[in-house]
Structure formats: C-alpha cells, structure tokens
C-alpha cells in the first residue's frame, strides 16, 4: 500500500498547532488585489470554511495554496515547512490535495481509473514501463476504497463522461482523498448540485470530519454552517472576519458585507 504522504512528523514544534499558515499572502492581477495580505491559520483536523461574495478572491486563494498561482508577497507554511515556491505536484506529494470548482477529471477514463491515477501519483515514480497498471492491486484497491468512501463504488467501471454532475463532484472528492491528503482544499464542492445531492455531499464531508483537515470554499451557507469549525470571511481579497460560526453570524461587518444580502435571499428561513 502506498501512503507516501502520511506519517510525517511535525518539524520545529513551535508552530505545530497550525497545519497550514499563511503570512501577508498577496496577489494582484493588474490593478485588482485578489489576495490582500492574507493571514490564515488552519489547525489540524478542523474544517475551515472560507466564504465571501463573488469576486472576493476565494478561488485565487485556493490557487495560491495549491501552487497554481504564485504570490507576489508573503509566505505559505505547511506543517512548519515553507512551501511558497514549491510547484503544484510537489505540494500534492506533501499531502495538499485539491478539488476543482469546475469539474476537472479524465473524461475518457473510468471512475476507478481516475482515482487509481491519483493513487499512482503518490506511489513513487511512474517510470514503470511494462506491467499493466490496471491490474496492480497496489493502485486499484486504495482507489476502490476511496470510491467506496464517497459512495461511488457501484459506478467504478463507468466512464467519466457517462456519470452525472453530482457523481462528478463525488469523484472529485474521491480523487483528492485517494492521495491520502493531510489537507483537503475543496473549491465549491456543492457547485451546481441539487438540494438532495448537496445534502448527500454534506453527509459525506461530515464523515470525513476529524480524520482530515479541510479548507472549504462554498457558497451554500447551509452547508458551510453545518460543516465548519471555523470561518474566514473574504471581501475584495481581504479577510474581514475570522472565527467560530456563531461569532461570524453575529459579526456586524460580515452581515453587512455578505450574510445580510444572503439572508434576504432566503437563507434566513433555514437558519432562523
């Protein structure tokens, strides 16, 4: 079994309380500041939600953390080590896994093939030229287990382009899980889902809670308040509030900038 990313001891010990820590993380696109001196602390095993109106820089933040976007200033520490300049695949190998807001899968592969590739990525190098990788238990079994975890095992042999949108979202999570991540970056996992599918996704993420650290970006406030241990509110690339869900809900600035308009759009009914 390949668990390359697991069993890493904490270095330093001083900052052991935070799994991920950013300092003054800044990224400008032309005149727009998409990330403005972001200071984020994510504790091990917490579910940390980042919310904010459209254009607040949430996806930029995920891009910065996963390594697809380079920051102009600031630093990112993961498990005590500076990863600010590491390329995407190195961060993934360290245990930072992300899902994509817009489904990003291998469309001409089966569901199981997709997850098996994710397992393979963390299973040493892939300069193995001869053996049929689709018959390697070392890859297939963990992949199958990840599909089972997200409730997709019945669909394992189905090609991705034959799966429904909701199943694509589940598969996204399975692929992230299969790499044995220490931090899951979930970019709007509920995007485009119906209420039923959303509820199923929330249930699934709830089951993961406590086993893996999750940074969740989500528009669905109901899901966010159901899952998050802590929230960070982002507006125009800047953190305007951070704390426990109840404190955020009560925060005047947050209500004005974000939650207020949401609640008037019907969220109030559900939360009460």
């Amino acid at each position: 079994m390949c668990t390359a990313a697991s069993a890493v001891c904490l270095k330093g010990g001083v900052v052991a309380s935070a799994l991920l820590q950013t300092e003054r993380l800044t990224r400008r696109f032309g005149g727009v500041v998409a990330a403005d001196r972001i200071a984020l602390d994510i504790a091990p095993n917490e579910v940390h939600a980042v919310i904010g109106p459209n254009g607040a820089g949430k996806t930029t933040l995920i891009g910065l953390l996963s390594g697809e976007i380079a920051p102009q200033e600031g630093s990112i520490r993961f498990d005590g080590a500076d990863i600010t300049r590491l390329p995407v695949y190195r961060r993934s190998q360290l245990g930072l896994a992300r899902s994509f807001q817009i489904t990003s899968l291998f469309r001409d592969f089966t569901a199981l093939d997709n997850v098996a590739l994710a397992v393979q990525a963390h299973c040493g190098h892939s300069f193995r030229f001869w053996r049929d990788a689709r018959y390697e238990d070392e890859l297939r079994k963990p992949a199958f287990a990840a599909l089972e975890r997200v409730g997709l095992k019945e669909r394992a042999a189905v090609r991705v382009d034959k799966l429904s949108h909701g199943e694509h979202r589940q598969l996204e999570i399975a692929m992230a899980l299969a790499t044995g991540p220490r931090l899951l970056l979930l970019d709007e996992p509920m995007a485009g889902m119906g209420p039923e599918e959303s509820a199923r996704m929330v249930r699934m993420l709830r089951e993961l809670k406590g086993n893996v650290t999750i940074l969740l970006i989500e528009h669905d406030m109901e899901a966010v308040f159901a899952l998050a241990d802590r929230l960070t509110v982002l507006v125009y690339g800047r953190i305007i509030a951070s704390g426990e869900p109840e404190a955020i809900r009560a925060d005047a600035a947050v209500r004005q900038a974000y939650l207020g308009e949401k609640e008037s759009a019907g969220e109030g009914k559900r939360h009460g």
Binding site: Y89, S92, R98, F100, R128, A157
Partner: protein, 327 residues
C-alpha cells in the same frame, strides 16, 4: 458487486471479433504473405513498395505514442528519419559498415536530439509546440543541406548496406522485408505494453487533463519528455531502415512535408489505437502510389479524402470499421 476487486472493473477494449480486429488481422496476414507473392510472380516492385510502407509505419507507430496517447502533436517527426538515416550514411561513408555500430548510433543520436528538442518545447502547448518542433526539424534539414562532405543538397549514396556479420543479409530483399515486419510488430507490442503501464497511464492522463495531473501530484513534463525520447529513438531506427532500403540519404528524408505525411498516417489510421498507424501508413502510401499513376497531382485527390476523414470519421479508418462517425 462485492467490496472485493471485480476483474470487470478493469475496463479494457475487448478482444472480441469486430470488423476492426478482422480487418487488422487480414492486413497483417497479407503483409506477411507479400514476399511469397513476389517470389511466385517475380514482381519485386510490390516488395519494394511494401518494405517502404512497413518502415514508414514504424515511424507512424512511434509518432502515435506521443501524438495519439500523449497528445503532443510533433510537426518535426521526420527529423528522426533523417538523423537515423544520416547516422547510417555517414558511418558507411567513413568506413564503419557494421550495423551493430550504425543502428545503435542512429537510435542514440535520435534519442539525444529528442531529449534536447523535448526539453525546450514540452513546456509549451498547442500551436507553439507544433511550431517549435517544426522549427527544430527545419534546422536539422538545413544542417543536412550544409553537409558538403555527405552530399549536401544532392544526398549521398550508400554503397553497402549495414553489415550484421553474417547474422542477417540485408541485401536479401525478402529477409530485409521480414526484418522490417518483425521490427514493426515488436514496436507495436512495445507500445501496447507501454501505454497500459504506469508510465502509459501517466502520459494518457496528461493528454486528457494536464492541469489535474499536476494537481494530483504528477511532475508531468518529465513523463512527456520520456515519451518524446522513446518515440524519437524508435523513429530513428526507422530512419536507419529507410537508409538501408533506399541505399541513399538526402535532406529530403526530413523535409517538413514528410513530417506532415506521418501525422496524416496517424490521423488517418486512428489516433491512439495500436494498429491505427499501420492501417494509416498502408492506406496513405497506397493511395499516393495509386493516384500518381492516374494523375500528375495525386495530392489534389488525396487532400479532399483526408479532409473527409478528418471531418466525418472520428478515430480514423479504425474508427470507421467500428462504426464510429463524427457529429
């Protein structure tokens, strides 16, 4: 379905009897029997033509690895034919006639060239990648023109085919044909192992979605580069065969239109299918040969045929045999 791993989860193309497998099998049998036909009828032209078809099919098979499975459209693949051919020709002229030296040099030089070109071009994508591979191939083409000692523009006649110390006599047309056939089949087997291995899945995944591949932890460029080098080395071998076949090398070996021909063969036969390049090479070269007997401008007819295949048939001729059509 139980929790244990069901073998049916290994989704693979079945080996069932389809028009496609029947066609491929028939084609291989016919290719295997050509020397007998030419022996019986005394028609050596057919053998010469099909030796050429087999050699270019090896080139197309190698291109299919990077283009069909890896999604890298190299518009400079004929450069390897040239490098392989010139390795044989230059060594022959300098008095080194042993195939045991010539062929490994052909393969190694091609691999080295692929390593350099790949390292410089694989960070780009799409049109840029196509243009860079073309530019490098043109550079090599003009280098060959500049090689006055080796015939420059006029090319160089090879007076002696590669010598394998009595192991196999390349002057024997039948033997040479079967050698090319064996190398073609071996390359297809090699590719079939390769594309289903971890390495193969890594490059196929990269073709499908490179961004995601990096996100799940693959350093994609180094796998693409390895595939690029393997394809180059294999095509270099085809170049060595081609030089032996024609007893002649010239810069025309690697003219950019020949790179285009190789692409056409791969697309015609069906991108990313094992035997597609063979079907494509046979079809393309026979059409070219046949049409040139009726008209001075075979491309005038060949062009529209290719256009129709590209527009209406997904998966090339191989796909057509499976009943796949474009929308």
């Amino acid at each position: 379905m139980t929790a244990s791993l069901d073998p049916t989860l290994v989704a693979r193309p079945s080996l069932a009897f389809t028009p496609r497998t029947a066609f491929t099998a028939a084609l291989l049998v016919i290719l295997a029997l050509f020397p007998l036909y030419s022996l019986v009828t005394g028609n050596t032209f057919v053998l010469t033509l099909f030796t050429r078809v087999l050699i270019l099919a090896i080139g197309a098979v190698s291109l299919n690895l990077i283009m069909g499975y890896g999604g890298m459209v190299s518009f400079g693949h004929a450069a390897y034919l040239g490098i392989g051919g010139y390795a044989v020709g230059i060594l022959a002229k300098e008095g080194i006639g042993s195939g045991f030296v010539q062929w490994p040099v052909a393969v190694a030089a091609s691999a080295l060239y692929a390593l350099v070109v790949g390292a410089l071009s694989l960070r780009t994508r799409g049109v840029y990648f196509i243009m860079i591979t073309l530019a490098f191939a043109q550079m090599i083409y003009y280098v060959a023109i500049g090689l006055d000692r080796y015939g420059g523009d006029d090319g160089l006649t090879i007076y002696k085919r590669s010598d394998f110390a009595g192991l196999i006599d390349l002057n024997n047309k039948t033997l040479f044909y079967y050698l090319c056939f064996a190398i073609l089949l071996a390359s297809i087997y090699l590719i079939s192992r390769l594309v289903n291995s971890r390495f193969g899945l890594a490059i196929r995944g990269t073709r499908s979605n490179e961004r995601r591949m990096r996100a799940i932890g693959f350093p994609t460029v180094r796998y693409k580069l390895a595939a690029f080098v393997i394809a180059g080395a294999l095509c270099g071998l085809a170049g060595a065969l081609l030089a032996n076949h024609t007893n002649f090398i010239s810069p025309a070996l690697m003219h950019w239109t020949r790179s285009g021909d190789l692409i056409v063969m791969v697309v015609l036969g069906g991108l990313g299918s094992l035997f597609g390049p063979v079907i494509g090479a046979v079809t393309f070269l026979l059409l070219q040969e046949g049409l040139s007997r009726f008209t001075e401008y075979p491309d005038l007819i060949l062009g529209p045929i290719l256009l129709l295949v590209a527009i209406y048939v997904h998966g090339g001729i191989g796909g057509l045999l499976e009943g796949r059509r474009g929308g």
